[in-house]
Symmetry: C2
Subunit: 317 residues, 2 copies
Amino acid sequence: MYYIGIDLGGTNIAIGLVDDAGRILHSDSVPTVKERHWSEIIRDMADLSKKVVADAGHSLEEVAAVGIGCPGTIDKVSGVVVYSNNIVMDHVPMAEEFRKYIDLPVFLENDANAAALGEYAVYGEGADSFVFMTLGTGVGGGIILNGKVWSGFNGAGAEIGHQTLVFGGEPCTCGRKGCLEAYASVTALINQTKAAMEAHPESMMNEYAAKHGKVNGRTSFECARAGDPAAIAVRDRYIEYVAEGICSIVNILQPEILSIGGGISREGETLLVPIKEYFAHNDYNKHMAKTDIRIAKLFGDAGIVGAAKTAETGMAE
Amino acid sequence: MYYIGIDLGGTNIAIGLVDDAGRILHSDSVPTVKERHWSEIIRDMADLSKKVVADAGHSLEEVAAVGIGCPGTIDKVSGVVVYSNNIVMDHVPMAEEFRKYIDLPVFLENDANAAALGEYAVYGEGADSFVFMTLGTGVGGGIILNGKVWSGFNGAGAEIGHQTLVFGGEPCTCGRKGCLEAYASVTALINQTKAAMEAHPESMMNEYAAKHGKVNGRTSFECARAGDPAAIAVRDRYIEYVAEGICSIVNILQPEILSIGGGISREGETLLVPIKEYFAHNDYNKHMAKTDIRIAKLFGDAGIVGAAKTAETGMAE
């Protein structure tokens, strides 16, 4: 059987037809236009789902279920988006509304949890525990235990970016101070880069940013590769923040695999090698097998695949 | 049926005969004398087990299994203590050795995990998720998910005292800097109290400590109750450290119940009320049911009851 995976983002609605192995047969996207009423967004989700299935050369009869990865707080049982501030939604009956257009079982999951499930399903090698950490605009994540998403008794957990890194430190988007997200997100890295550029007018980062029209998450990494001392300092400090957060989450959960995704993860070994080095010295566990830390592989597809896997696991329960 | 619960500590071996409901029928203890060879300690554990069962007016035929809560890293499958630095043990085949004296199934668990299971079994109300946090010499803990201890793929997890609170902060016993344990343990509180006493020679804490012959975990709490400003500052700051750590663990796991145990938990409402206040304002979850934070109730019995429950759940698997 096939599953429709819908990755509902603030910018685009990305939809794919996915098989049991987590392969995307065909996918497409349309702009979310998130300012619209949610009923219009959901109608577009259904329309594009039909188009994707048809364009893939299949029919809805071959589809077992639909999964939707959605930002915000989800009530999985009722299929309601309880709250989202990215796409503004307050108690939206998303599953029920979607089924007005396509009469298939619909399963909702928080987008970060769904992406974790996607990465786990395809590259998790059946690990008994798997943590997915995304270094993007924020620091998000998902926890998979015994093959299932663990998000707490209320579905609001796995907010691994909102563990403290510096008590009383930088303000975080969540209202607290010093969360990991305030140090290890791309947003935070850009702020760290800008501060270093100001403190070091001679740094190559100033020239690089001017040439590219802006400072972004690659500025410090690129200039560090070219040997710029200020950039190396920013990059190495940033990696320490990430590694420290990883040590904390591993000390708590000791997952078999911890997979790093999000924009920064495209740095690959540049990011992974020093993280593993830091982890080897700082992990509390000195006597048992160690968590396998790796770079995620699905990249942009994790959302679609994870939504489809949400549908698949939902049907199996 | 009954279970023998053995709480193997650095100071005492405490053993109880426990029924299905987690009630201790009878218990007793002997000094561990931890400098001895482990085989002598295990022999004493077996001797005292027989005595406790007899003194309770029962026989070993009525005992289904034996559970041992032990410090350090445990290989539950093989019943081996892989490593402990409290009672020095390195790959000790504890279950096998114990069965030379008493031929019953023997199940091992890390002591903090066992205590968590004990508290959960008696006062957890069948919650789907339960975190036990002990504020003692260190900050320990246990995680119970779906009625079972969660300690990671390698059994080394649930080290909730070793999440970062202050990146690069106070040295921790684990070798890292800035762990929650380095701020929220009784040891840390005593250091914080001593520092405040030195900075404030006029503080009542100096007199109180002289009268009691030492500074302990109650010094700041008692003097704060009497209105001493320096003591109030120490106590309130300490409680903030604990509350901040609780926010982080809840953001990650969103357990249905988080139970606070260990020596400091005897402060009861003095500790709990401000923690709940802090949590209400700092929990990332604003839209779903909230974690119920409470003070643990088993106190010193959690170890024995948890060891017995380790045996009971071991037999059920």
